[in-house]
C-alpha cells in the first residue's frame, strides 16, 4: 500500500512538472512577444526592451549562457549614461541598449547566444516585422544613404557621436565606439565609454525564463502585468465568487442527477425509463450557450434586477439553476448506465436468489458498487469548481476566476493566465491522486494488493 502511494505521488509530481513545461511552452515560447500588447504596438523598440527587461521577458529561454553587448560609462558624473539616435535612423533604437544591472552607468543590449566579435549585427536587433513588404530597390538605396549616428551622453555631462553606418558585425561596432577619438580620458588615457561583451557568470545561469517560470509557478509569486496586484491576492478575492456559483451547482446537479437516474433505472423498460432517456438526450444536445442566453432572458423577463451582476446575492441563483439544468441530461445518462451495468452482474442474481427485495438489492448491493465510478466522476469535477465557469461568469457578470481568465487573455496578462492554468492543473492532479488513493478505501480489492 505504501509503495502504491509512493508511486502515485511520484507520478503526480512528474505530471505537475509536465504542466509547468507545457505552460512554459505555451505562454512563453509559442505565444511570442507580449510587449506590444502592454506598451503599445507603435512604441519604440527601446521602450519595449525596457519593459521586457523589467518583467523578465528578455531573458534567454532555457539557460542563461548568453552574452550581451555592454557599454560601461567609466566617468564618475552625477547622471547616467544615455544612448540616443543621432538622427532618424532607427538602428540605435533597435539595438535597444537599456540600463542594466550595475547601476545606471551600464547599458546592455539583447541576450545573444555565443556573442562574439564576428557575430553579425542583425543578431543584436529584433527580427524585422514580417508584415513589411520587401523593400524596393529605391528604398534600399535610400536606406544606404542615410547617416547612422549613435549619440553617447556621459554621466559627467559630456557627449560624443559615433558613426555606426555600415557596421556589419558586433566587433566593428565595438571598435567604432572604443576607437572614437573623443572616447578617451585626457589624463589617464582610459576609455570614457567602454564597449564590451559581457562575460559568463556561473551565478547567472539560472536567470532564464524557464527557471523564472518554474519558480513563479511553484510559489505563485506572479503579479498581474495590468493591475500590479499579486496573483495570490487576486485569487483570494475572486475564488469565493466562483465557488459560490459552482459548488451549489455541482451539489444540486449531482443529487438531482442521482435521484432521477435511480428512479429511471428502477423503472427500467417502462415508459418512465424511455421518457427519461429521451429527455436526457435532448437536454445533452442543446448547446450550453443556449441554456445560458435563453435562461437569462427568461429571468430578465421575470425579475430584471436579478439577471446580471452580483450586487444582490440572490443573483447567483439563476446561473446556478441554469448550470444545473444544463448538466442534468449528461449526468442522468451516465449514472443510469452505471447503475444498469451493475444490476446485470452475477451477485445481483445471487442476492435476489436469497430472497432480497429489489429495492434492497438496488440500495444495498448495487449502490455500493456504483459509488466507485460515480464518486470518481464527482471528485474529478472538484478541481474545476475553483475555475468557475468561464462562460457563465462572463455572461452574468460574476467577477470570479473564470471571468479573470477570459479577461487575462484579452489583456495578454501572461503571469495571471499562466498562474491560473497551472493552479487548475495542480488542483486537478491532486484530485486524481485523491481519487486513486480513495479507491483503496472503497474497493477492498485495491487495499490489500
Amino acid at each position: 500500500m505504501l509503495s502504491y502511494v509512493g508511486r502515485r505521488l511520484a507520478q503526480s509530481a512528474l505530471t505537475v512538472l509536465g504542466v509547468m513545461i507545457l505552460t512554459f511552452l505555451l505562454f512563453r515560447v509559442i505565444a511570442g512577444d507580449i510587449a506590444s500588447a502592454h506598451v503599445g504596438e507603435k512604441a519604440s523598440e527601446q521602450i519595449k526592451a525596457d519593459w521586457r527587461e523589467r518583467h523578465g521577458y528578455d531573458r534567454p529561454l532555457l539557460l542563461n549562457v548568453h552574452r550581451r553587448l555592454m557599454l560601461v560609462d567609466n566617468t564618475s558624473g552625477g547622471s547616467y549614461l544615455r544612448v540616443e539616435d543621432g538622427d532618424d535612423s532607427v538602428m540605435t533604437g533597435d539595438l535597444a541598449l537599456i540600463p542594466s544591472g550595475g547601476g545606471l552607468r551600464v547599458r546592455a543590449g539583447r541576450y545573444v547566444f555565443a556573442l562574439k566579435r564576428n557575430t553579425p549585427i542583425a543578431k543584436l536587433m529584433p527580427p524585422p516585422p514580417k508584415k513589411k513588404r520587401r523593400p524596393t530597390k529605391a528604398q534600399v538605396e535610400a536606406e544606404k544613404k542615410r547617416p547612422a549616428v549613435m549619440v553617447l551622453k556621459l554621466s559627467n555631462g559630456g557627449s560624443f557621436s559615433v558613426d555606426i553606418k555600415g557596421v556589419q558585425t558586433c566587433g566593428e561596432l565595438m571598435d567604432r565606439i572604443n576607437g572614437h577619438e573623443k572616447n578617451s580620458d585626457p589624463q589617464s588615457g582610459k576609455l570614457l565609454v567602454e564597449a564590451k561583451i559581457s562575460g559568463l557568470k556561473l551565478g547567472r545561469v539560472l536567470d532564464s525564463q524557464f527557471v523564472d517560470h518554474l519558480w513563479k509557478s511553484a510559489s505563485f509569486q506572479a503579479s498581474s502585468l495590468v493591475h500590479k496586484e499579486k496573483l495570490t491576492s487576486i485569487i483570494w478575492q475572486r475564488a469565493p465568487k466562483s465557488l459560490a456559483l459552482t459548488v451549489p451547482a455541482m451539489a444540486l446537479g449531482w443529487a438531482l442527477g442521482l435521484i432521477v437516474s435511480a428512479v429511471v433505472a428502477y423503472y427500467r423498460g417502462t415508459l418512465i425509463d424511455h421518457l427519461g432517456v429521451f429527455l436526457s438526450v435532448l437536454g445533452m444536445c442543446v448547446p450550453f450557450l443556449a441554456y445560458m442566453i435563453y435562461g437569462q432572458w427568461l429571468m430578465f423577463a421575470i425579475a430584471p434586477k436579478h439577471a446580471y451582476g452580483l450586487e444582490d446575492r440572490a443573483n447567483i441563483y439563476v446561473p446556478i439553476l441554469i448550470m444545473t439544468i444544463a448538466g442534468l441530461g449528461a449526468s442522468v445518462r451516465f449514472y443510469r448506465t452505471v447503475i444498469l451495468d451493475e444490476t446485470t452482474r452475477d451477485y445481483v442474481r445471487t442476492a435476489r436468489a436469497k430472497g432480497l427485495p429489489l429495492a434492497a438489492v438496488l440500495f444495498k448491493h448495487v449502490l455500493k458498487n456504483c459509488m466507485l465510478p460515480i464518486l470518481t466522476n464527482l471528485v474529478m469535477a472538484i478541481p474545476f469548481l475553483i475555475m468557475g465557469s468561464l462562460l457563465v461568469e462572463t455572461y452574468f457578470g460574476i467577477p470570479g476566476l473564470g471571468d479573470l481568465m477570459i479577461s487575462s487573455i484579452t489583456a495578454r496578462d501572461e503571469p495571471i493566465l499562466s498562474g491560473m492554468v497551472f493552479l487548475t492543473a495542480l488542483i486537478y492532479t491532486c484530485g486524481v491522486l485523491v481519487t486513486d488513493l480513495s479507491y483503496a478505501v472503497f474497493d477492498p480489492r485495491v487495499r490489500l494488493r
Binding site: 452482474r345 451477485y347 445471487t350 435476489r352 436468489a353 436469497k354 430472497g355 448491493h365 455500493k368 480489492r445
Partner: protein, 350 residues
C-alpha cells in the same frame, strides 16, 4: 419425510424469450419431479435450456425479455407459479436455494463473506444478532472451511475458488432449505476441488435431508452424484430415468450419442466420435423432432422430420421422446412429473 415423497414438481413448463429477433422458446414443455432427499441431475449441452429451467423455478427469469408462459411448478404441495412476488421472496433462499457457476462474480466483492451469509439468515429468520453471527460461522464450518471465524471477516477475492464455492453453499443452506438448485457448481473449478464440492453436497444431503437439482453438462458428475437423470435437448427433455438405467441402457439416440463421444480408459480409438452438427438456435428450431438433423436414426425419416415426439414411458419409470425408440409405439404418454422416481444411490448401488 418418506422416501416416496415428491418435493418438486415441474409440469409442462414453458419459458419463452421475446426478443427483437423473434421468440426464443428456451424451455418448451419440460416435466419432471424431484423426490425428498434425492439428487436430480439435469444434463444437456450449452443452450438446451437447463439453466433457464432452474431460473424459472426460482422465478428469476429476466422479464423482459423472458416470461413463464405456461406450466406449473409445485414445491411440496404449494404452487410457486401462482405466488405473489412477496411470497416468492420468502421461498427464495428459505425453502429453495440456488448456487451458481461462477463463485467469484456471484459474491458481492465489496461485502465480506460473513456479511453476505448474515444477510441471507436475516432475511428468513428472526435471530438475535449474536446468534445469527454464530450461525453464519457455523455454516462456514459445516461446509468444511478451515478457520471459519477468520473467513467470516474476509472478502471474496481473498478466498480460493473452491472456498468461495463452499461459502456460496454455506450461504445457500444457512436457512435450511428443502431444495438446493446447483447450476453448474463445479464447472469453473479444478477437478480435485470438483470432487470435494460434490462430496460436500452429498454430505449435506445426507445430514439435512436436502433435495438437490443439479444442473450440469458433465456426464461424469451426473454419474457420480445423481439419483435420477433428465437429459435435455433444445428446450425439451429427451430421456428421463434413474441413473443406473440411463447409463445402462440409454434409448434416445441423443443420449447414446453423448455416451459414445466419451473416451474410455483402456479403449483405443483412432478418432473420437462426435454428434455431427450444432445445437440449434432457439430462435430457429428445426421442425418435427428437434434432434432429427443430427440424428443417425431419424435424419431422413418422414415422421421424425415433421412431428415432434412426446415423452412416453417405454419401460417402468423410463421416459423417452423418440419415434424410433424400441418400445415407443406401444408406450403410454404418462406424466413424468406425477411422482418422483423413487431411486436412491445407496440402496440400489451398482
Amino acid at each position: 419425510m418418506s422416501e416416496e415423497a415428491t418435493i418438486l414438481t415441474v409440469r409442462d413448463l414453458r419459458t419463452h424469450f421475446f426478443t427483437e429477433d423473434g421468440v426464443a422458446k428456451a424451455v418448451d414443455g419440460v416435466s419432471f419431479a424431484v423426490g425428498a432427499r434425492q439428487t436430480f441431475g439435469l444434463v444437456g449441452e450449452s443452450g438446451c435450456g437447463k439453466s433457464v429451467t432452474a431460473l424459472s423455478i426460482m422465478r428469476l427469469v429476466a422479464d423482459p425479455p423472458g416470461r413463464i408462459v405456461g406450466g406449473q411448478i409445485v414445491l411440496d404441495g404449494e404452487p410457486l407459479t401462482a405466488m405473489s412476488e412477496r411470497q416468492m421472496r420468502g421461498v427464495r433462499g428459505g425453502r429453495v436455494a440456488m448456487i451458481f457457476q461462477e463463485p467469484m462474480t456471484s459474491l458481492n466483492p465489496v461485502f465480506t463473506v460473513g456479511n453476505q451469509i448474515l444477510e441471507a439468515i436475516n432475511l428468513h429468520r428472526r435471530l438475535p444478532r449474536r446468534r445469527a453471527r454464530d450461525l453464519a460461522v457455523d455454516m462456514l464450518a459445516q461446509v468444511g472451511i478451515p478457520d471459519p471465524a477468520q473467513r467470516y471477516k474476509e472478502f471474496p477475492h481473498q478466498l480460493s475458488g473452491g472456498m468461495r464455492q463452499r461459502a456460496m453453499i454455506a450461504m445457500a443452506i444457512s436457512c435450511d432449505p428443502e431444495l438446493l438448485i446447483a447450476d453448474e457448481p463445479t464447472t469453473a473449478l479444478d477437478v480435485t476441488i470438483q470432487a470435494q464440492i460434490l462430496e460436500l453436497l452429498g454430505k449435506l444431503q445426507a445430514e439435512r435431508g436436502l433435495s438437490i437439482l443439479l444442473i450440469t453438462h458433465d456426464l461424469a458428475v451426473v454419474a457420480e452424484t445423481a439419483d435420477v437423470v433428465g437429459v435435455m435437448y433444445a428446450s425439451k427433455i429427451a430421456e428421463l430415468a434413474d441413473v443406473e438405467t440411463l447409463f445402462g441402457e440409454p434409448r434416445h439416440p441423443y443420449t447414446q450419442g453423448l455416451f459414445r463421444s466419451l473416451p474410455r480408459l483402456g479403449e483405443r480409438k483412432p478418432r473420437l466420435e462426435t454428434i455431427p452438427g450444432n445445437v440449434p438456435d432457439p430462435l430457429a428450431f428445426p421442425t418435427g423432432c428437434k434432434f432429427h438433423p443430427r440424428c443417425p436414426v431419424g435424419r431422413d425419416l418422414q415422421r421424425c422430420r415433421t412431428s415432434e415426439p412426446q415423452l412416453r414411458e417405454v419401460a417402468p419409470r423410463h421416459w423417452v421422446a423418440c419415434w424410433e425408440c424400441p418400445g415407443y409405439e406401444q408406450a403410454e404418454a404418462t406424466d413424468p412429473s406425477a411422482k418422483a422416481i423413487p431411486y436412491r444411490r445407496g440402496s440400489n448401488d451398482r
